[in-house]
Every structure is written in C-alpha cells, then in structure tokens.
C-alpha cells in the first residue's frame, strides 16, 4: 500500500534513504540524462509551442463544458450499446465496478493501465469483494505483485532492478528465473496469456473520451489494452471526467505530443479507438457487455476553480517528472502519492488529501523545468506554490520562518534594520577576506556545511548610492536599477560593476530607495498576502512611467516581477497599467548590454580568459533569455566553454537550500563537477542567488575556479 510521508521530519528521513539508494540513483540519472534528447528527436518538425497553446486552449474551453460533454458522450455511447455511469466519488466508482462484476458473474478480471483506477484504489476494493484482479501492464503487474504504488506515471516500476524482478518472478512461478530482461518479459507473456484467456472482465482506463461519437481512445505500447478490451466478455473503462474532449481533432493533437513527452517515442505501438459495444463471440448475444464509468472525485469543482482548473489540462504524460531535478534524485515514491512529479504534488492535495500533500509539496525548487516541457502548458511551479498556500490555509502548522517573514518583509525599514544588525552579529564569524563566513552560526546543522555562506556587506548598496549617483546630461536612456536584497546587502560590488559598465554611455541610472525585496521569498513560502504587499510597495517606489528600462542584476527578482506581479495585482484596476509598463520595461542585465547598448568587442581587452556559464532557472526558463549572456561573454572577449546541462538548477532556489540541504548539495555537486570538466578558470552567472550557491560550493571544495556575477566579469574586461 502507498504510504506517503506526512510530516517533514519523516519525509527528510526517506529522502536521505533515497539519496543513498545507488541503483535507484543510477537508473533515474540515466533516464534524466537521456530523456531531453529523446524528447527533442521525437518532436522534431512539430510546432511544439503552437501545439501546446492549442491543447491548452482546447482544454480550457472544454473544462466549463464538462457536464455537457459528458451528456453528449453518454447519448452517443448508449445509442451504441454502452452503459455510461457517473461516479461522484472514488468509492462510488469502485462500487459501480464491483456491481457490474457481480451482475455479470465475473470471477477474474484483467486490467490494463489506468492512473484513474490507481487514484480510486480500485484493485484493493475489488479484491476485498472477492474478485481476482490481474494487472497486465508489465510494470503495473510487477508493482501489484510487490504491493507497491507506481513510481512513475508511465514507467511504474522504474525503481526496480532486473534482479529484483527475477526474484519476484521466481516466487510467482515457483521456478528459478534468471535476471535476463528478455527472458523475464517472456515469463510475463506466458503467465499473462493464461490470465487473458480465463478472465471474464477487462478493466481499462482511457486517454481520451471523444464526446460527439462516444469514443474511447487508449494509448499503449505493450498491446495489453487491446487484449483487455477484446478477450473478456465484459469491458469496463474507468475514465476521469477531465479526459472528455470536444472532438477527434483535439485527441489527435494531444496524441502528437503525448508519446514524445512521455517516453521520447514518436507514437506508442498501439492507439485503440473504441466506439460502442463491439463483437465478442464469447459474450451472450455475441456483443461485448461494455460500461464506461466517469469519475468526478472533485474534478467538476476543480474545473471551476479560478487558479487550479488548469491542473485538469494534464494529459498524464509524466514529462514533468522526467525533467525534474528533484525527481531524478529521489524517485517517484518520494515525489507524489498516486500521481507523481510536479502534477502529483498538486493533485495529491485535491484527490488524496492535505496530510499526504503537506510534506512533499514543499520539495520544489521552482526551477520551472517541468513547466517548460508540459505539453498542456500548465504553470506547474506556480500551482505547487498555490497548493502549499492552501495546505497552510487548511491548518498545516505555519513554520516559524513564515511568521517571521510575514512580520518583517512587509515593513521595509524593519527589514533593512535587521539586515544591518545581521552584519554586526556575523562580524566575529566573517573571514577577513573574500566576503565569506568562516563558521556557520550554531543553529545550522552539519548538513548545511556543503557550501560557505557569504557575509553581509559592511555598507549596503543603498547607503552608498548618494555618493555613487552621477547626473547625466541629455541621457539616451533613463534607467532604474531594481537591486534586490542580495545585490543591495550582500553583493553591492555587482551594482558597482553595473555602474562601471554604464559609464559614458548616456544612461541616467537611478536607484529608487523606496524599493524593497521583490517578494519572491514570500511567494515561495506560500505567503501570497505578503508577496502582494511588497509588490505594491515596489510599484509605489518605482513608477515605470519615469523610466525607459528597469534593469535587474537578479534573474529571480526579474522573473518574479514579470510573472507574479500581474497575477498578484490583477484585482487592482488602477495598477494594471503600471504593472504592464513595469513588465514591458523590465530587462535583465545581459539583454540590456547586448540588445540595447549593443556593446562591441572593441571596448574590451580581449583577454580570452576561459569561462564557464551557469544558466539561472529564472533567466533561461523564467524570462526565456538564453542567447544574450553568451553573446555578452563573446563580446567581452572571454573564451566561453560550454558545460554539461548548463540550464539545470544549481540547487539554491532561495530558502529551498536551507530546507532540503542534502538535495541542494547534490545538485550543486553535479553542477560544479560539470563546470570543472570544462577547464574554465572562472564561472559566471546572472543571478546573485546562484552566485551565492556556486561560490559557496567552490570554496568548500577548495577549487581554484572563481565565481562571479556576469556583470563583474564583464566589467573587469573593460578597457581603461
């Protein structure tokens, strides 16, 4: 039975175990590394963005009409001899199916893969009713025999080795079985044939329920869904209401992207389209006894939810797990309840309750890798944070850091006062040089010791501003710098680098002092009200109409301003214009240098220093900026060396690295290994948060490679 950690302490214990499971780690790593190329190959020649937008739009239009689509489906399917049921709850669905089995004198059931049946724990129910249920998808059969839940939505037994499967099959067949995959598959084929031929009823899921013809569409590779729907005299399909589509066209569009997203296949071996009760020579009257049970279980209400309805666009491809750096470290049994991966963190709360969701939902980097591949265009990291917010609202005890943050962040003066105080408090701990802390303060455990932490700067950027400010006559551009907390209080030198680079270019730079934290940390902890409050303060401090551009040195701040502010402030009619101006004028440092100021190699020394680059999540996926920083490195005369997987999260992710230090450390280790392989002497990135993580990690491993913000590295190359 599935047993998901219900509190953080237990959860962290399990995460630690998973990190030490070498087989699991290796399997997941192989898949994680192979998947992106496979997906890309399978999608070659398709307009992926266009398809994603179409699928999202189709699903969004269908959601408010689900009940109508259900009626249409029912009318057509019933006219074709199918009985259509609507189950309000999981238990309803299970009981309906058990009754069908009894009414038809069923003893043995074969089942092809259905996540919806996993959701309702259908097998368990049917077995308690005295029915024999055999899963026929190889992976599902394996985990059924092991009494486990799936660890991936498409590859449910990905966590097991051939040896474990051989041991299992030895027990089941009572004959010794070798750990040879081809032979094991033959064993399954032989065993399964017997079951198929002796079963009275087949249960399947469906990927599509096409309303206007009452057709089910089922995707499978093994062909077991075909046998399940053909051999036994009774067929029951259990289908989530969200699988209803308005036409075949939508189904065919989804079919183009689903298999590539799931397993990197162009299409699965089989796609089966069933309309009506078909011929079945062993059934009374020569016709299949066919039932379709639609499951609500909260879906109708979810479809009407203004924030969460988009979760119902999900086509269950599993891509959000395939690309998730955390999934790749800890596996599905630690990254979902029944539904796995990013979507699992969300759906668990709705379908399987707060207790099962409350620990796992906190384990997200907001790195947006899932969002960038989801074929249904679901904003998964956003919904994960919203889900965490709901978990807190529904009574999960608020962590102390939430209370502290809520109190401090709303009050800029208090917040900045405390940061200045922190400088004094850390003084005895700070190293004389290098801006790093010598020892971690006592309240950090040793699991936090994977990176050195930076010291808070003696003089924050804002306190130097009056001296740094230079008036520019007849400026070409009026620019406001949005600094963010790290630049302001930890790395003011990054701001200095910007000033140095702007000199003599006709840029009137301003640093509006009323600005405060962008609010991302609050959002990350599910504190939407606080995030909204600071957003209002920042808009008050920086009136976008006063500037041509608002430049940031921090990718995280920028992506938060761009993505979250419109959402946070959408109910404030008067502010909509300002928010729009802000997001239109917002630009990251590298883009500003290359596309606006158009810097040229002539202005730089051309040192050809070897540099590696880390692509921050919030820059490459959040803002979609990928080329500009690389162009800037080239223009500045640096020798840019590509590293493996430059766009994978470094593990910082704000407070994440403090909550889950072991996972953060592992991501950092992989990142730094990749950088070291390049032979670079310098590592640059465009986010002070990433600088913190990467520099702290390099320092800990005693590496010679320096870590700098791209602005610093480029400023050092400037002539004169």
């Amino acid at each position: 039975m599935i047993d998901t950690a219900q509190d953080l302490k237990e959860y962290k214990k399990r995460l630690k175990n998973a990190l030490h499971n070498d087989f699991l780690r290796q399997t997941l790593k192989n898949f994680y590394e192979a998947y992106p190329a496979g997906r890309a190959r399978a999608l070659e020649g398709l307009d992926v963005q266009g398809l994603r937008a179409q699928i999202a739009a189709c699903k969004d239009q269908a959601l408010p009409r689900i009940e109508e689509l259900f009626e249409t489906f029912k009318t057509h399917a019933e006219a074709a001899g199918v009985k259509v049921h609507l189950a309000r709850t999981a238990l309803d669905a299970n009981e309906i199916i058990a009754t069908i089995a009894k009414d038809n004198g069923v003893k043995k059931i074969v089942k092809s893969k259905s996540m919806t049946a996993e959701e309702t724990f259908l097998n368990h129910h049917l077995e308690q009713e005295g029915l024999e249920v055999v899963e026929t998808d190889l992976g599902e059969w394996i985990i059924q025999l092991r009494h486990e839940g799936p660890s991936h939505m498409v590859m449910p037994a990905i966590h097991l080795s051939r040896q474990e499967v051989a041991d299992l099959f030895t027990k089941v067949t009572e004959e010794p079985q070798e750990p040879d995959i081809e032979k094991l598959v033959k064993v399954a084929r032989r065993e399964m044939r017997k079951h198929f031929l002796s079963a009275d009823m087949g249960i399947s899921g469906a990927n599509f329920a096409i309303a206007p013809t009452g057709t089910l569409g089922i995707i499978s590779n093994e062909g077991n869904a075909r046998l399940t729907t053909t051999l036994p005299r009774v067929h029951v399909a259990l289908v989530g209401l969200d699988k209803l589509v308005p036409d075949l066209h939508t189904a065919l569009q989804i079919l183009k992207v689903l298999p590539p997203s799931a397993t990197g296949q162009v299409i699965t071996s089989y796609v089966t389209w069933i309309t009506g009760a078909t011929e079945c020579t062993t059934a009374p009257g020569g016709k299949k006894e066919m039932h379709v049970v639609f499951l609500d279980n909260g879906r109708l209400a979810l479809a009407r939810d203004p924030v969460f309805s988009q979760a119902l666009r999900c086509v269950r491809c599993g891509a959000c797990a395939n690309v998730c750096p955390i999934y790749s470290l800890v596996g599905g049994h630690n990254y979902g309840h029944v539904y796995i991966g990013a979507i699992g963190l969300i759906l668990t709360y709705f379908y399987h309750g707060r207790k099962n969701a409350q620990a796992i939902v906190q384990n997200c980097l907001s790195c947006q890798a899932c969002k960038s591949v989801c074929p249904a265009g679901i904003d998964l990291p956003h919904l994960i944070k919203e889900t965490y917010g709901e978990v807190l609202r529904q009574g999960y005890p608020k962590p102390f850091k939430n209370k502290l943050l809520a109190r401090v962040l709303k009050d800029r003066r208090l917040f900045h006062f405390l940061l200045r105080r922190a400088y004094l408090a850390q003084k005895p701990l700070a190293r004389p040089k290098g801006g790093l802390i010598r020892h971690l303060p006592f309240f950090f455990g040793k699991e936090h010791d994977f990176r050195s932490l930076p010291a808070i700067a003696k003089t924050p950027f804002r306190d130097m501003w009056s001296r740094l400010y230079e008036k520019v006559e007849n400026p070409r551009y009026r620019v406001a710098l949005f600094g963010g907390c790290l630049v302001d209080f930890v790395y003011p030198e990054q701001g200095h680098a910007l000033i140095k680079l702007l000199k003599g270019r006709g840029v009137q730079l301003e640093y509006p002092l009323g600005q405060t934290c962008c609010g991302l940390p609050a959002q990350a902890l599910g504190e939407k009200d606080v995030a909204r409050e600071v957003a209002l303060q920042n808009l008050k401090a920086i009136d976008p109409s006063d500037y041509d551009y608002i430049v940031t040195l921090c990718a995280s701040c920028a992506s938060h301003l761009k993505e979250a502010y419109p959402r946070l402030l959408e109910d404030e009619p008067g502010l909509a214009v300002k928010v729009k101006q802000l997001t239109d004028k917002l630009i990251d440092f590298s883009s500003f240098m290359t596309t606006v100021l158009k810097v040229s190699p002539k202005e730089f020394q051309g040192s050809r220093k070897k540099v590696a680059y880390h692509s921050p999540c919030h820059l490459c996926r959040g803002l979609g900026v990928t080329q500009e920083p690389r162009d800037l490195l080239a223009a500045a005369g640096l020798d840019y060396r590509t590293a493996r997987r430059e766009d994978v999260c470094c593990g910082m992710a704000g407070s994440y690295s403090f909550e889950f230090p072991e996972l953060s450390a592992e991501l950092l280790r992989q990142k730094l290994d990749a950088v070291e392989e390049t032979g670079a002497e310098l590592l640059v990135t465009d986010c002070p948060g990433c600088v913190l993580q990467l520099r702290g990690g390099m320092d800990k491993r005693g590496a010679k490679i320096k870590v700098k913000h791209i602005a610093e590295a480029v400023a050092e190359e400037k002539k004169g």
Partner: protein, 182 residues
C-alpha cells in the same frame, strides 16, 4: 508533399521501430512472403481474416503447397494455433510510421493481437501524410458504431524493466509491412 516522399517517411519511421518494410508488386508476392516467413520461423499456420474470396483462394493454394494451416474465421477456437497474422492495413500514416486497421471484426483483432508475427499489406494508394489528413475518414467511421479502430506502429514493446526495450511482451514480436502496388 508528394506521395513518394511520404512513402520514404513512412518507411523511415516504421523501420525506426523495427518494422520490416518490403515492397511487393502484386498480391501473389504478398502471399508468398507470408508463407515463406512463417516457414522460416517454424510456424504451422496463418490466420488471415477479412480477405476477399479471390485473394483467399490464391493464399489457400500457397499454404497447401507449403503444408501450412490457414484460418480465416472463428479465431477464438484457434488461439495458440496460428503463428502468423496476415491482414490488410486500411491506411498508412507517414509522419509516425503508423498503420490504421479497421478492426471491428473480432477475428481481425485476434489475428493481429495473438499472432507471433504480424504481416500487414498496405496498398500504396492508401498512404496519408499525417493523422490530421485522416481525421475526416476516422470521424466518419467513429460515427457509425460499433467500431474498433487500431493504430499500429511497430511490434508490441515494453521498457518496464530497467527501461530496456523489449519486443513482444503481449502482442506480436514482429511486424512486417508489405507495400502493395495498386
């Protein structure tokens, strides 16, 4: 895109999923292919539902000469008894290397699901560039129930143990596509 380019794409995509693609000039060659393949693989019989009487007569003769059994219907009674399933394909979809089989007849389904080797014959003219260009035909068929339509792309496969690709977990171990001149 023209027809011969589509044919190339179909072959490429199908071969990428281990389909054996062969062109045959006339039906007689298709029957011979199926018979010889069955013999070579040590099979004893062919299941060939859904063919017209003329085709069957020719096939029957080939099978008799080769000493192979031939089943045309009531395949429920022959489960385990046939090695090869020999069927037509109603359409081919180039973009994905897919065959479309109108499989409402139970015999046709059993032949394609329970054989060890599936040989499908696709008339050259029945090739479509992608699934959307077949949408109208499919929607029409779905509108006339009961209907069981199958997209078949390669043999039955699994990667459920250690993600190692293995063929023939439930359905056929091999798929052979014969492209027939018409």
């Amino acid at each position: 895109m023209n027809h011969s380019r589509n044919m190339e794409i179909l072959k490429e995509r199908a071969e990428a999923v281990q389909v054996v693609v062969t062109e045959v000039p006339d039906p007689a060659q298709a029957w011979r292919y199926a018979v010889e393949l069955t013999q070579k693989q040590g099979g004893a019989a062919i299941a060939a539902p859904g063919w017209d009487p003329d085709s069957l007569a020719a096939l029957e003769k080939e099978c008799a000469q080769a000493g192979l059994g031939l089943y045309r219907q009531n395949l429920r009674d022959q489960i385990g008894g046939f090695h090869t399933g020999l069927t037509r394909a109603d359409w081919g979809i180039a973009a994905t290397g897919t065959l479309v089989l109108e499989s409402t007849s139970e015999d046709l389904r059993l032949a394609t699901m329970l054989c060890e080797t599936h040989v499908a014959v696709l008339p050259r003219s029945r090739l479509k560039p992608d699934s959307l260009s077949l949408e109208a035909e499919l929607a029409k068929l779905m509108g006339e129930p009961p209907r069981y339509l199958a997209f078949i792309t390669g043999a039955s496969r699994t990667a459920d143990i250690e993600r190692v690709l293995t063929l023939g977990v439930h359905g056929p171990l091999e798929l052979h596509l014969l492209i027939l001149e018409d």
